[in-house]
């Protein structure tokens, strides 16, 4: 049941990404082009998602266990540090170049588009490079 539920959450999330326009790089870049012909659609994606999300996180705060009886795994790190800023800058710049962020890249990869597969493969390589760099440069966090 738990496995089926995780699968369904992934499915709903992915369908939401497609319906919203997030899987179309030209639409994403049209949204990021605030100084040109600006397409504000994707602001509504974030607005709609956060409106629903806020209720659920407020509800989660009042509970001690999740629906399946397990613990809540919430991030404990609240430091605003160089890692956060540099990582976000790098991500934002890459998002602006290709028009893909991780979720839409994976959904588009699954639909078999060659460009999306190329991007997603490079993204996976980037994540592996990060892991390897963490292990050689820093102690495990």
């Amino acid at each position: 049941m738990q496995r089926f539920s995780e699968f369904m959450v992934g499915l709903i999330f992915g369908v939401g990404l497609i319906l919203s326009g997030m899987t179309d790089p030209a639409k994403v870049i049209g949204f990021l082009d605030v100084f040109g012909q600006w397409d504000p659609s994707l602001a509504l994606v974030m607005g709609g998602a956060i409106a629903v999300g806020m209720f659920s996180f407020a509800l989660a705060k009042k509970r001690t266990v999740n629906f399946f009886g397990g613990a809540f795994h919430l991030p404990k790190n609240n430091h605003i540090d160089k890692r956060l800023i540099i990582g976000a800058l790098l991500f934002g710049a890459g998002w602006g170049v290709a028009g893909y962020c991780p979720g839409p890249a994976l959904v588009s990869m699954a639909s078999g588009q060659t460009e999306a597969i190329t991007f997603a493969a490079a993204m996976l390589v980037g994540m592996i490079v990060y892991e390897l760099a963490q292990r050689t440069i820093h102690k495990p966090r």
Partner: protein, 144 residues
């Protein structure tokens, strides 16, 4: 100037609500933050006892195009319009992969879940990647 010709308020709002519903179900049912870069990055490499939920979630995500094409009244998932060359796609993919792991999140984890739970850290991250995206598109579209 607003590009009214490409403005899709209802589809984008409905899609956003579905994204919010999925994030809500994930935290309430499973106690997890729905952040794609974190879910995926946790599998590189997979660790015992912490891999199955990531894989079942991702299998659902991968099934979305099929489900959308079967359900959508308007027909098939729109063909993406991509301007970037293959070289740029690879460079951008590497940046997104490294950046999201280094900054501990992407549009879903920081942008949707982080803002929903009023995390200052996620607000700073989201503001930063949005501004970086605006600046990058400005440079590519209007300067280069």
């Amino acid at each position: 100037m607003i590009d009214w010709a490409h403005f899709t308020p209802w589809a984008s709002l409905s899609g956003g609500i579905l994204i919010g519903v999925a994030s809500a179900l994930f935290i309430l049912l499973h106690g997890r933050i729905l952040g794609i870069s974190g879910i995926l990055g946790g599998l590189l490499p997979p660790s015992a006892g912490d891999a199955t939920w990531r894989i079942t979630f991702l299998l659902g995500l991968f099934s979305a195009p099929l489900a959308f094409n079967a359900l959508a009244p308007a027909g098939f998932m729109q063909m993406p319009r991509i301007d970037a060359s293959y070289t740029m796609l690879i460079v951008a993919g590497l940046m997104v992969g490294i950046g999201t792991r280094y900054g501990s999140g992407c549009t879903s984890g920081h942008g949707v879940c982080g803002l929903s739970r009023l995390s200052l850290r996620s607000l700073i991250a989201t503001g930063t990647f949005m501004v970086a995206g605006f600046a990058t598109v400005y440079i590519i579209r209007h300067i280069l």
